[in-house]
């Protein structure tokens, strides 16, 4: 989190330590040895990794998870939905790396396929919530009369705790991945709308926007040219946090039985299956939990890294 600011600082120091010109006739003191070694600027991919370890770690882990999701059919040992009543609740072994659940399904294969559900939910919610939030935020930042109404509605939605709102919406519909995505998006997007609105309101006061208005630029063009590019950085950071939160909410919904249909192997569902047996067979809950936590950690670290990279002033504050 703080790595960014520390790496930058030494690079500026040699300039301040420039040699002081010595007046003629005065015995010059022996030149001071350089206190700081010359700054080695690393370039290329490794330089980026060195300067932004959080982004590198998060991105690498996320790429691994993406590969697992894409290659699940190749990596899985058996069909994740195949029932084998004879081999119920086996401990992890060579045949079943992560053991089997109450219905004899192979947990390793199920966890691999679960990656698909979590990533799909996380990415979809992040994108949809960003788009919806951007739309509402732009409208309420630019259309004065709509601002009051929209923000009261957003306040109302935000005053229902997000997990509770998502659970409630799921109670209205059948459990399906699409409905889970919709429910979490509705619960999350008011926060994006608030963020975009606050960025828009502060940008509107900027001299360059005034200049654009004075030059007769039309509002759509101002939004496209001056407002949107400036909302991109905070929105990207917000989107990663929403992605992380969506994956956790999905697992919570599935865990309490109000999420993805039990037939689909999602991490939340595998853990829900292991609930009854967690005292004797904790590995059923353990393996999906590790995968979920690692993935969310990767997204969170990516978000923290991006925040520090895109807004160095924030790096000091948070």
């Amino acid at each position: 989190m703080t790595a960014q600011s520390e790496v930058v600082a030494p690079a500026m120091r040699p300039a301040m330590a420039a040699p002081v010109p010595v007046p003629v006739g005065i015995a010059a003191a022996a030149p001071m040895p350089d206190v700081l070694p010359p700054v080695k600027v690393r370039r290329g991919l490794w330089g980026f990794v060195y300067r932004n370890p959080a982004i590198a770690f998060g991105a690498a882990l996320l790429i691994v998870m993406l590969l697992i999701a894409l290659l699940a059919p190749l990596l899985a040992t058996v069909d994740p939905t195949a029932l084998a009543p004879a081999r119920r609740t086996r401990d992890p072994s060579w045949q079943h790396w992560f053991g089997t659940d109450m219905m004899g399904r192979d947990i390793y294969s199920r966890v691999l396929y679960g990656t698909r559900v979590s990533l799909a939910v996380g990415f979809s919610v992040a994108i949809l919530a960003s788009v919806a939030g951007l739309a509402v935020g732009l409208v309420s930042g630019f259309v004065r009369w709509a601002d009051g109404i929209l923000m009261r509605v957003m306040d109302g939605m935000m005053s229902i705790p997000p997990i509770l709102l998502a659970i409630t919406l799921m109670a209205l519909t059948r459990g399906s991945v699409g409905n889970v995505i919709t429910a979490i998006t509705i619960a999350e997007f008011p926060r994006v709308a608030r963020l975009v609105r606050s960025v828009v309101l502060s940008l509107r006061e900027q001299p360059y926007v005034d200049a654009a208005v004075a030059a007769g630029t039309r509002t759509p063009m101002i939004i496209l040219r001056h407002i949107l590019p400036n909302t991109l950085a905070p929105m990207t950071v917000q989107a990663t946090y929403i992605c992380a939160s969506a994956m956790i909410v999905e697992s919570i919904l599935s865990f309490i039985g109000a999420g993805t249909p039990p037939i689909i192997p999602s991490w939340g569902n595998i853990m829900a299956d292991g609930r009854a047996l967690w005292q004797v067979k904790p590995f059923i809950v353990f393996f999906p939990a590790v995968f979920l936590s690692l993935t969310v950690l990767a997204v969170n670290m990516l978000g923290d890294g991006l925040r520090d990279l895109l807004d160095p002033r924030m790096a000091k504050r948070l």
């Binding site: 989190m1 703080t2 520390e6 009261r152 509605v153 306040d155 109302g156 939605m157 005053s159 229902i160 705790p161 997000p162 997990i163 509770l164 709102l165 659970i167 409630t168 799921m170 109670a171 209205l172 992380a244 956790i248 697992s251 919570i252 865990f255 309490i256 039985g257 109000a258 853990m271 967690w278 005292q279 904790p282 809950v285 939990a289 979920l292 936590s293 690692l294 969310v296 950690l297 969170n300 670290m301 923290d304 000091k316 504050r317 948070l318």
Partner: protein
């Protein structure tokens, strides 16, 4: 000041009205016809129609919303479709465990998170800071129920320090009550602690750069005094704000934590209501939680003037 309080309360009214409208629409668009459910399988369409008329279900949306709101203001949240009991009674029975859990979590989290954030800001950039903030990112990433299971497995099953599951009412003594709540409170508090610690650190970092901190240092004030008297007091507003906002995390997390630790509270009631599609009960719970959340943040808002006398309305 009084005018401000009144104005602030007035602002929350449209918000609560929207929540009420939203929650009411929920029942309105919910699948399944209550009249058909009450009439039973044998009923003819005419009977269902009669029941619908007698319940007033055939009247326009806004009329029904008005009547429903009027009942809510009188403290009547309707009747549970599944048990046939008043929603108020059902909620009342489950209130104590949830309130206990949230209170213990709140106290524990603030007691841990604020010193954590202060220490991280004081030693900013050191390994202590990185370690604490690393823990915060980790705590954000592990779902509540996973923390709950790990804690229960290690400290209840293996070490046998705490009971595995269940709840003991406060009436049976402070000790047993607290013993049952320690593990759930830690599990529930993890994310909350991470959130408060991060904001505390950020807010403290800003305050520690101020001139009056340097002055305090120059006059020889003890480090602890500087941190906790001068700095923390001035850094308090964002911290108090996030404690208020974070209540949403506690409410959402309680639903799951209570399932893991088999605590018979509102969270369990919520899960049961969702699984049985008991819409009046869901409405009542959502409305209650949202009301509590709005109320907490109203109180936080009013606290600002007390924490910082410069803020006047």
């Amino acid at each position: 000041m009084l005018a401000h309080i009144v104005r602030r309360i007035l602002v929350t009214i449209p918000v609560m009205a929207f929540v009420a409208l939203f929650v009411f629409s929920l029942l309105y668009i919910a699948p399944g016809d209550p009249a058909a459910v009450i009439a039973g399988d044998q009923a003819s369409p005419e009977d269902v129609e009669k029941i619908r008329k007698s319940l007033g279900l055939d009247r326009p949306f806004l009329t029904r919303f008005g009547e429903w709101s009027w009942l809510i203001l009188q403290g009547d949240l309707g009747t549970s479709m599944f048990t046939g009991m008043p929603v108020m009674t059902l909620i009342g029975q489950r209130l104590e465990p949830t309130l206990s859990l949230m209170a213990v979590t709140l106290v524990l989290s603030v007691a841990v998170a604020v010193p954590m954030g202060v220490a991280a800001a004081w030693k900013a950039g050191t390994w202590l800071d990185r370690g604490l903030m690393g823990f915060a990112v980790l705590a954000f990433s592990v779902p509540v129920f996973v923390v709950g299971y790990v804690l229960a497995y290690v400290f209840a099953l293996e070490l046998d320090w705490f009971p595995v599951q269940g709840y003991t009412p406060l009436a049976r003594g402070l000790g047993p009550w607290l013993q049952n709540l320690v593990l759930p409170a830690i599990a529930l508090g993890c994310v909350y602690i991470a959130l408060i610690a991060r904001i505390t650190r950020a807010s403290m970092l800003q305050v520690l750069q101020q001139d009056y901190i340097r002055t305090a240092r120059a006059k020889g004030m003890a480090q602890g005094g500087i941190l906790f008297v001068h700095a923390l007091k001035n850094a308090a507003i964002p911290i108090v704000t996030v404690i208020g906002i974070g209540i949403a995390l506690l409410i959402g997390g309680a639903v799951v934590t209570e399932s893991v630790f088999a605590i018979p509270g509102l969270g369990r009631l919520t899960v049961d209501a969702i699984l049985r599609r008991d819409y009046p009960l869901i409405q009542g719970i959502v409305l209650l939680f949202s009301f509590v959340y709005v109320l907490v943040n109203l109180v936080v808002d009013l606290l600002y003037t007390m924490l910082d006398p410069r803020i006047r309305y």
